[in-house]
Amino acid sequence: MRYEPLLERMPTTRIPSFTDREGVSRGERPRYAEEAPFKIHGGCGLMGICDESGSLMSGEVPIRAMAVQRDRGNGLGGGFAGYGIYPEFPDHFCFHMMYHDLRAKEDAEALFDRYFQIDLAEPMPTRPVKGIGDAPLLWRYFLNPDPHKLEAAEMTPEDFVVHSVMLINSTVDGAFVASSGKNMGAFKGVGFPEEIGHYYLLEEYEGHTWVGHNRFPTNTPGWWGGAHPFTLLDWSIVHNGEISSYGINSRYLEQFGYKCTLGTDTEVAAYLFDLMLRRHQLPIELACKALASPLWSEIDRMPAEEQAVMRSLRAVYGPGMLNGPFAIVLGFNGGMVALNDRIKLRPLVAARQGSIVMVASEESAIREVLDAPDRVWAPKAGEPVIATVSGNGSPVHSDLHLSADEVSCAVTGMLETCDAVEVS
């Protein structure tokens, strides 16, 4: 049985024509697959900022932090995610949608009408910005699953939402879900990040946590959906790096059912977090230690109990260890986690000013944003920087029960991943 019966059959859904990943014949509308028939190489800049007191800061802050890191990107992708930005709809899922054309919008909205109670649907506020062109139709929807459909599907609201994301991304031709979490949103596109930020009027939002990204892809034209951050519910991931262990990381994840189809390290990192945090219920600190393991020589010097934990982590999660240069920021509704590779081959600078924790690829971004940081430091290789907004600590959704391939499908929207989705 395919996934469709879960949400009933979708009469409006058109399966797009496509051949294979190498064949690149999906018609006019862009999808991830076109961008990444093979592994993507590239560098980037990133930032993350979190006020642990929960106080809100303007979207101008991440824009400024990214603007001074402009030359870390090449104008082929920029994006932000903000948390706490929709205080008027804190308990609604907010879908940020990208539509290739009106027909895609109609199809997706038919799906929304059928399965959700929509409390507000509106075009995403934007302004014309020089350098930004060829934008898709951008809409956002504040909604919650229809209680009857939810009951019929026997799912938690989170599962229901991710299934819907999966359906839209994979089967509604020309529609893409940029983000789908509560009280958060992703704002991304093709351009330099400060242009993208201004295009989305980011300075009019206020959030307690922001992440930003500047992209320097080396072999791809870039498209709006392919910019960072990547999201799943309220998770967002921005990433700078090239994981030299991608080959085994992806094969390792495939063993658990994830489908690594994008050829991007970011996708792999997202699945590894999902595997370790949600499915294996590892504490975030240990998940970071598994992703950027200490050296054996360090482990051998640890106290016995800690040594036993670390030895097992490395032996078990060794195939998932991200080896090679990376800096990564995982944003979630309770804060953010920033992590560097195990021998610090990519830049990551951190700072604290009162209750504000900030990380960035370059210190210039920190100096631009924080006027008097108490402390600025370079986090050691593999040492995570964790910031949590009081009372909101865990990045784990206990109400999410997705299988690995469902997660893959939701993130990528690729048909071949979704074809594998079966629910018994």
């Binding site: 030299s244 991608y246 080959g247 590892l282 504490p283 800690e306 934990v309 032996a315």
Partner: protein, 503 residues
């Protein structure tokens, strides 16, 4: 005696102008090539080109050449095939041989190329930065469960974490070679080297000699179909127990160690009467199916307080499904031996025509175990002609956890691959029990040479990892993305999970 049609394979040439007439060659040759009548006189027909005499001649006056006799060209009837027919017409017997398959089958390792980092990710210099080769051999849980330790830290949950794994400092171990097929000094060399290197040697099926008890933490004890030397003490002495089902050089074939090789010490170690032939049946007569194997695995585990138990099989056509069954039967590792693996003695027809290449076996087994979600439940040891650190790196990239080296280890001890192991006359004192020959190997010297070889390969593996931009071997393991094929057909590439060079 009727004349033989078989002509000598080699010509022994002595430069008598330089010859000291010292008789060293007569003394050194295990094959009795030389007689002495005022000067050494070689009998070419006995020479196996093992170079023992060449190496030890003080005058450096001996040269071994191929016997360059022309036979009429025939692409179908190679000289070797013609000689086989003549030999069998003479003897009526099965042709025996030693070492591994020497036929010119395609070498897949030689058609695989490794990657390196340029620009977008940095390569790493192993001389200046850590480069980790440590490997844990054995079953691992799919996840690690922890509980809070009450002080903001974490400890392993009850019974969680990695248990009963063997720590290897480098992902190379020594292949099983039994005491009996090889000499005691060889076994001692292997054991001493294994201890120094932080790795394992493997007893093979001939039991564990008392001289090796001090090295037992670095020894895998093997249980083969003959059950030679197996008792509860033996099982408990080793770091792990290996059930040998098959061998790459002779899949489906048992073993036969002739009575002449069963001297007092071999007989004590094997627990069989002196001078009796040691016959290993082709199958284990208590394993006729997978459920029998499971019972034996768990019998051994019960007898050893749950030491790791591995299963060695020859790489055969259906190896992936067999390996999957072995893992599900409870094995902590699967030891795959490819069709080029060596042997002390095997029928040549079997050695040269049965089994599949280790490269394909690794790829098929690793993928199958992943498809079934059980790859973490067992390690994969790959053997069957690992000839250099390049083969080692490629085997690991295809999915092996550890490689085992046998032929290369013997070569470190002097073996020149003359393929005469089955004769018991090894001039280098390796595959013989003749005391005048076995004493040629000083275990201290042997251990140093083996340690050198494995250390050298380890350094080279570190260089390869550095070029690949990773600093731990687990990041190469199974990372087929770092391999490309050149000159392999598409189907083979698909089975290997390796893209062609250029994409």
């Amino acid at each position: 005696m009727p004349i033989s049609l078989i002509q000598p394979e080699f010509k022994v040439h002595i430069d008598y102008d330089k010859c000291h007439k010292c008789g060293r060659c007569v003394q050194q040759c295990g094959w009795s090539v030389y007689s002495f009548n005022e000067r050494p006189i070689p009998d070419d027909s006995k020479c196996r080109a093992c170079h023992r005499c060449v190496t030890y001649c003080p005058a450096h006056c001996i040269t071994i050449r191929k016997n360059d006799l022309a036979l009429r060209d025939n692409a179908n009837w190679s000289p070797a095939l013609r000689q086989g027919v003549w030999r069998q017409a003479e003897t009526g017997g099965v042709m025996l041989t030693g070492m591994g398959n020497d036929k010119p089958y395609l070498s897949i390792f030689d058609h695989l190329l490794l990657d390196a980092c340029q620009v977008t990710n940095p390569s790493i210099d192993p001389l200046r930065e850590p480069m980790e080769l440590r490997t844990y051999l054995g079953r691992k849980p799919s996840a690690v469960e922890v509980t809070s330790d009450g002080n903001g830290g974490f400890r392993l949950a009850e019974g969680a974490g990695v248990q009963k794994n063997i720590k290897l400092d480098v992902p190379i171990i020594f292949s099983p070679m039994s005491y009996g097929s090889v000499s005691l000094p060889v076994h001692r060399s292997l054991a001493m080297a294994a201890e120094r290197l932080g790795i394992l040697m493997n007893t093979g099926e001939g039991g564990l000699h008392a001289d090796l008890y001090p090295y037992a933490d670095n020894v895998i004890v093997q249980v083969a179909s003959g059950r030679f030397g197996v008792d509860p003490e033996y099982l408990n002495r080793g770091a792990a127990v290996e059930i040998k089902v098959g061998q790459g050089a002779k899949p489906g074939i048992g073993g036969h160690l002739p009575g002449e090789k069963i001297n007092r010490e071999v007989s004590e170690t094997r627990m069989i009467p002196q001078g009796s032939d040691a016959i290993s049946p082709a199958p284990h007569h208590d394993i006729y199916s997978i459920e029998d194997l499971r019972q034996l695995i768990y019998s051994i585990k019960e007898a050893t307080d749950y030491k790791p138990v591995g299963v060695k099989i020859a790489a055969v056509h259906n190896v992936a499904a067999i390996a999957s069954g072995i893992v599900r039967a409870g094995a902590d590792y699967v030891h795959l031996d490819g069709f080029r693996g060596g042997t002390g003695a095997a029928p040549q027809i079997i050695r040269d025509h049965i089994g599949i290449p280790i490269e394909l076996a690794i790829a098929a087994v690793d993928q199958r175990l992943r498809d079934e979600g059980i790859r973490n439940q067992a390690s994969i040891i790959a053997a069957g002609s690992i000839r250099s650190s390049a083969d080692l790196a490629k085997a690991i990239a295809l999915g092996a956890d550890v490689v085992a080296i046998g032929s290369a280890a013997l070569m470190a001890l002097g073996c020149h691959m003359c393929q005469g192991c089955h004769t018991g006359s090894c001039s280098w004192g390796l595959t013989t029990q003749k005391p005048e020959l076995t004493r040629r190997v000083d275990p201290e010297w042997g251990a140093e040479r083996l340690t050198n070889l494995v250390s050298a390969w380890s350094h080279e593996l570190q260089e390869i990892l550095g070029a690949l931009g990773v600093n731990a071997v687990e990041s190469l393991r199974g990372s087929r993305e770092r391999l490309r094929s050149i000159g392999l057909d598409e189907q083979t590439g698909r089975i290997l999970g390796v893209k062609p060079a250029g994409v």
